[in-house]
Amino acid sequence: MLQYNFKYEWLLLIRNRWIQLLSMVLFLLFGFAVYNGMQKVEARQANIAAAEAELKTQETASLKVLDSLENGQKVSLSRWRLPSRPVVIGNYLPRVVSMPAKSTAFIATGQSDLFTHYVKPTVTGDDLSISYTEMTSPVQLLFGSFDLAFVIIYLLPLLIIAFSFNVLASERESGTLKLLAAQPIRIRTWVLQKLALRFFWLTLCIIVTLLIVFAISSFDFSANFSVFGSLLLYIIVYALFWFVLAFATNIWIHSSAKNAIALIGFWVIFVLLSPSILNQLSNSFYPMPSRTLMLNQMRTLKAEATKKQDEILDSYLRDHPEYAINDSSQTRNFYHRYMATQNLVKEELRPVVEKFETQLQNQQQWAYTFSWLSPALTVQNAFNTLAGTSEKDYQEFRSQSLAFAKEWRDFFIPFMFNNQEFKKSDYKNLPAFEFSYANETSHLRILGLLLMSVVIVTLVFVFKPKQQQIQIAM
């Protein structure tokens, strides 16, 4: 039966122009989505490059000034902008702490429109003053982006539904089912074969159109072979899930209109409702503390700390006797007090700030645990991870860059407390930052989705409506 189904399904799909239509729609959707994604990634990379270039020019200028200073020449700069002051280097020549796009970043916008891709932590700046959110019109954030992930997660299921909602019902409605049912076959197997074949052709269409679109946008297949493989795998498993749902619906429900409604219902539940309900629940179970109230706390702490700056500095120096010994002049100015205070405030604020991080982690954990309830969510997460634009990636960037900010401060603190001048030779010792993506894969989750599909098919065969219950006549 398979051989004949294969041959004639192909003929029917071609003659009814399904394959042609599908390929064209997929090509247009993928093309537009990839183009959009590429645009965004290009802008992101260009911004980082521009910032690096800007830093380079400033660096060259500063090095020149340092050179002149060390050679005893006069420079036309106000006293406190002299690069020989460590605080000037630390504040005016901050490193570009950047998060370069993965080569696959165009796949999913993820959180990339919400968060910034480079920060410039300064010596005197505190962690909370680093703004990690990007300057984007909130309208854009609200509407979201037309990326490959959107096409696959939202639109592909709808294409599949349109492609498969009436495989059995249309036979019934057009009358051919009677003739089929009079053949020595099992209708359920026959439907399964039909859908499997449609799944096969759809998968082929997806692979071919994706290959073409990726090739057009000059995607480096050789370097990203495994990533492309994972992408295809995720898409195929997700598509399979929807075909399986279509199979169950085809077997259990009898008219094409009812099938369509049931499948659209599934789509609304899995794609629209369950993520937002999960989100709502995660917010209720692990509510974020109020940022405005955190501000209040921070203000009070800072106000108290400022009043006691001298005491704080003294105790700081008691803790760090090396700074007190090394500097014979013992000149203490604004920045010494400031840095000591900063440290204290940071320490005291830590529990408050950490509460946000832990709540966020709790929420993530919760969402992760229940994400199997929504295949759309599973696949979105997988795509985001693949593209390096997931919540976790940006969290990683935050923690890595904050660690660097500390490194940067720590580099200058000895200079400042020892009232030591910054020399040209110190320049090469400045800490450098390189972001590294956490190596995570979502294979297991996707495997879970695959398992779910298998379970559904098995259920349909186990709790079979008897052949007779597959209503033959209208």
């Binding site: 537009f32 645009q39 965004k40 802008a43 911004n47 521009a50 910032a51 800007e54 106000s78 993820g110 959180q111 919400l114 910034t116 891709h117 480079y118 703004s131 300057m135 984007t136 019109s137 909130p138 309208v139 854009q140 954030l141 609200l142 509407f143 982006s145 037309f146 959107f150 939202y154 709808l158 009436n166 209109a257 009812k258 369509a260 409604i261 609304v268 629209l272 993520p275 937002s276 309900i277 999960l278 989100n279 709502q280 995660s282 974020m288 940022r291 405005t292 109230l293 501000l295 209040n296 203000r299 009070t300 106000a303 009043k307 946000f356 929420q363 969402a367 969510l377 979105q380 997931s390």
Partner: protein, 468 residues
């Protein structure tokens, strides 16, 4: 005839199990959404009241201090939450809630709620606006997709025609049978929300007229949707095709176009990155007057001019503390720079906005979305309005502080400290959001677009169903 068709259709719909279940599900979802939103709204409002009071207390009790130190110490402006945000959260989740007001610097609103949430938040929330904008149109499609095709498929259409039925009257009857139940549900929802809001202790700027306008907006949106679905149902032969086509329209109008529009807007009129923006401002600032830098060229020029204006030889002879005067001048200059750069952002946004407005021609979702947010005061314009008000307050505060410094002290007296009581004299930050009339005025294109859609779709429906 209209009345008869209406009665018959209502009966048919009510007897259809699917429609009944769908109605119940939508009602249930709406109820959950309203409960969640109410809690959220109450929570946020309490936090807002507490934070504002605390912040003012911190400001009032900062003790003896130099006014300029106080200026650097700064204060916070918190964005209030408006009652109708209970129905439409708009862009609130993506716009900051608090602005730090300090000397020399205009800050962006901080703490975007979405950045404190998991990626889940990007799928959208279960809020009333989600149901009103996405789910109810789906319900309408479910109810209406076969209202014409079923007559054709059952052959009852010829029967109706033989009874001398007039096409548009039948359609109107059907139209009402679809519209009335949905309209009543939404009406009840709005009335409940209205009473809920007016019973809350501090319901601030809640007005029934805004709520009513919001209701009308959604009714127009639904009318347009019903028209579209009925046009499809009247022109195609099979129910299945009508359903698929109607759903495609829904997907296109509600999902695809807004996203495509946002991509197009970003591509054509991009915002600078946060760092770029800051650097551009820093560059401009470097060229101009810096209140803290008496050695810059601009500062020297100001010095000369001031001396000339007052006809004195040295700064100490001026009738005020020149340090404070220079601070204020520098502040004014910097404020101008910020104004210029924020103006650029606004221009970019209004350009982006024009793209959304143009695309409203093919998506009735867009004008509805913008109208709904605007009326609920959760749109980007209101955010801008708030941000501008905060900036004006910041400028006024700096002026207040600098003038006190300039008038109370003499040149060079940086060690002077203002009284601990002085800070209380600073007026409080009060923000009044745009009124309903103003909102409607700024959104005339959206209003117009909705009416064009409404009338246009009615006309097309009338002509397609003139002879069935």
């Amino acid at each position: 005839m209209i009345r008869h068709t209406f009665k018959k259709e209502t009966k048919e719909l009510w007897r259809d199990g699917r429609v009944r279940i769908a109605f119940i599900i939508v009602l249930l979802l709406t109820a959950i959404a309203v409960v969640i939103s109410t809690n959220y709204y109450k929570n946020i409002n309490e936090q807002y009241v507490e934070a504002s009071a605390n912040e003012r207390e911190v400001w009032d009790n900062q003790g003896e201090k130099n006014p300029h130190s106080a200026a650097h110490y700064g204060t916070y402006a918190f964005k209030p939450k408006y009652p109708l945000s209970l129905i439409d959260q708009g862009v609130d989740k993506y716009a900051g809630t608090s602005i730090f007001l300090e000397a020399h610097k205009r800050n962006e609103a901080q703490f975007i709620a979405a950045s404190d949430q998991t990626g889940l938040a990007r799928f959208g929330d279960l809020t009333p606006d989600f149901i009103l904008l996405f789910i109810i149109p789906l319900l309408l499609i479910l109810i209406a997709y076969n209202s014409m095709t079923k007559e054709r498929e059952r052959g009852t259409l010829t029967l109706l025609n033989s009874q001398g039925a007039v096409g548009w009257k039948i359609v109107l009857g059907k139209w009402l049978a679809i519209f009335v139940p949905v309209c009543s549900i939404v009406f009840i929802l709005f009335v409940i929300t209205g009473f809920l809001l007016s019973s809350l202790p501090d319901f601030g700027v809640f007005s029934w007229s805004s709520l009513f306008t919001l209701f009308i907006t959604y009714m127009i949106y639904y009318a347009i949707f019903i028209n579209l679905v009925l046009i499809i149902s009247a022109t195609v032969k099979k129910s299945g095709i009508a359903l698929v086509l109607s759903l495609s329209v829904w997907i296109l109008v509600c999902l695809v176009l807004p996203k495509a529009a946002s991509n197009l807007a970003e591509y054509k009129y991009p915002y600078p990155t946060r760092q770029e923006f800051a650097e551009n401002i820093a560059k401009d600032k470097k060229l101009g007057l810096d209140g803290h830098n008496p050695w810059s060229a601009a500062a020297k020029k100001l010095e000369e001019e001031t001396l000339k204006e007052y006809g004195v030889d040295s700064l100490s002879q001026l009738p005020f503390n020149y340090d404070g005067y220079r601070m204020q001048k520098g502040e004014e200059h910097e404020a101008e720079i910020y104004f210029k750069h924020y103006q650029y952002l606004k221009t970019q946004y209004s350009n982006q906005n024009s793209i959304y407005k143009t695309l409203a021609i093919i998506s009735p979702y867009l004008p509805t979305r913008f109208m709904s947010m605007a009326i609920a005061k959760t749109d980007y314009n209101t955010h801008w309005d708030f941000s501008d008000a905060a900036e004006n307050y910041r400028i006024a505060t700096q002026k207040f502080l600098n003038e006190h410094f300039a008038n109370e002290t003499s040149y060079g007296d940086w060690g002077w400290k203002a009284d601990a009581d002085f800070w209380k004299q600073l007026p409080k930050f009060e923000y009044e959001p745009p009124s309903l009339v103003e909102t409607l005025e700024t959104n005339t294109t959206s209003v117009l677009m909705m009416f064009v859609w409404l009338l246009g779709s009615f006309t097309v429906l009338f002509f397609t169903t003139k002879s069935l």
